[in-house]
């Protein structure tokens, strides 16, 4: 075993503000992409449960394309296509958020679809039988029950999303991973820096994992 490498974390005292700033950017990407992808997922998931094949067709196509292509490809593709094809000059940050949201929106749609489908048919019928309209049935009876069943997959989704925010580094968003590389090439302390930022990802993801597991157990115990 090679043992003559000198681990050195002393740079932290000088560089921590840069990493905190990058961490804040990572967290912004996480929060915005999570909000957008859940919103996309909600609407697409409802459409996927339509009993009209025509209504299902386009949502289905969206889900399959965005779920089954590599995320890094989508990020770079959005980076190119938004300005070139659509004349949208967004900064890299928003391009990254949009790419992540479309990809994770496809996952969220599948989660919503399954959650809505998992609510027993009798619930829908009972709600209809007291005179509720279709949208009242969905909002007041089906979705509140579906959401509890989705706690666990959503927990996992947020955890994966937090990890995947690192991929927007390829288009130059100055989030944690991107900054770790630029600072690393300056200090030649890449391993130490990776360990440091790994801890920052874990600070978010460990509580997320435990909270979602706890909520899942609390609400789906019977």
């Amino acid at each position: 075993m090679e043992t003559n490498y000198d681990w050195d974390f002393s740079w932290i005292s000088d560089y921590w503000p840069i990493f905190i700033e990058a961490w804040a950017k990572t967290s912004q990407v996480l929060l915005l992409s999570a909000t957008f992808s859940v919103t996309i997922g909600l609407f697409v998931g409802i459409l996927l449960n339509s009993n009209k094949p025509l209504v299902r067709a386009i949502p289905r196509l969206y889900v399959e394309i965005f779920r089954l292509t590599p995320l890094i490809l989508l990020i770079v593709f959005f980076f190119l296509i938004l300005p070139i094809q659509f004349g949208l000059r967004l900064d890299n940050f928003w391009t990254g958020v949009i790419a992540l949201s479309f990809n994770y929106g496809a996952f969220a749609a599948v989660v919503f679809q399954a959650g809505i489908k998992g609510v027993p048919k009798g619930q829908r019928e009972a709600a209809q039988a007291i005179g509720m309209t279709k949208s009242q049935v969905l909002i007041r009876v089906v979705l509140p029950q579906a959401v509890f069943k989705m706690l666990s997959p959503f927990g996992s989704m947020l955890i994966y999303l937090n990890k995947d925010t690192s991929l927007v580094s390829v288009i130059g968003v100055t989030e944690l991973f991107n900054v770790s590389q630029s600072v690393g090439s300056r200090l030649f302390r890449n391993m130490e820096i990776l360990i440091f930022i790994a801890a920052l990802y874990l600070i978010i993801n460990i509580p997320l994992a435990y909270v979602s597991e706890y909520l899942n157990r609390k609400f789906n115990s019977d």
């Binding site: 709600a127 039988a129 005179g131």
Partner: protein, 248 residues
């Protein structure tokens, strides 16, 4: 007498399988009609066509004189007039007992929270589960759940109540409490259409008995007479197979 329900030549197919093959039935206002028949005879399907949970393939259904088998029928307003109680209760598990009963008045009738709560509480008293109003459905017995489900349907002040095998999912000792509530409703003059296997209830409470088999109403009449001296061979055969009520 004004007819509450009038079904003429009702047909319903699921795919190639024809479940209702021209059913005909009339329920007068204020009357209790009990439908009996073997499983798979189409009795639940017929009931579910009346509030359009199932869309009939063809035929006519008139509710208080108004044709409802029509694509222009306003489903929410039809279903306000026609309450339904299901075999498996179908209470909303994420809401308390009181909230379950308040749901219709709040969401459909747009009443204020205090008004809806007052209606709901009175109905819970009527069906005898007011002590459990703050519990979730999973915390009360099946018999209590079904009584709450009856209260939930009554909260919209319906003119007609449909019961789809309301006691079939219950242990025998819990059935009586549900049947008592139904008996009380009948005594109050509620128009009721009840699909059930409870022969005692049919005999004592029904004004009319209808026997359905293989998608058609084979025989209707006064329960006492129809049960004692059935005209059709099919009803004779069916009566030999049924278990009579546990409260005999």
């Amino acid at each position: 007498m004004e007819s509450a329900v009038e079904i003429i030549d009702l047909k319903k197919s699921f795919g190639a399988h024809e479940v209702l093959r021209g059913a005909k039935l009339k329920v007068n206002s204020g009357e209790v009609l009990v439908v009996i028949g073997p499983s798979g005879s189409g009795k639940s399907t017929m009931l579910r066509c009346i509030n359009l949970l199932e869309k009939p393939t063809s035929g006519s259904i008139k509710i208080f004189g108004q044709e409802i088998n029509d694509k222009n029928t306003d489903l929410p307003s039809l279903r306000q007039k026609v309450g339904m109680v299901f075999q498996s209760f179908n209470l909303f598990p994420h809401k308390t007992v009181l909230e379950n009963v308040m749901e219709g008045p709040r969401t459909v009738l747009k009443l204020s929270k205090p008004d809806a709560a007052e209606i709901a509480m009175n109905l819970l008293m009527k069906v005898g589960v007011e002590d459990h109003h703050a519990k979730k459905p999973s915390q009360i017995s099946g018999g209590q759940q079904q009584r709450v489900a009856i209260a939930r349907a009554l909260a919209l002040n319906p003119k007609l109540m449909l019961f789809d095998e309301p006691t079939s999912a219950l242990d025998p000792e819990l059935r009586a409490e549900v049947l008592d509530v139904m008996r009380g409703l009948a005594a109050d003059g509620m128009t009721m259409l009840v699909v059930t296997h409870e022969m005692e209830f049919a005999r004592k409470v029904a004004d009319q008995l209808a026997f359905i088999d293989d998608g058609v109403i084979v025989e209707t009449g006064l329960p006492e007479i129809t049960l004692k001296s059935p005209k059709s061979e099919r009803l004779k055969l069916f009566l030999k197979t049924v278990k009579w009520g546990e409260d005999q």
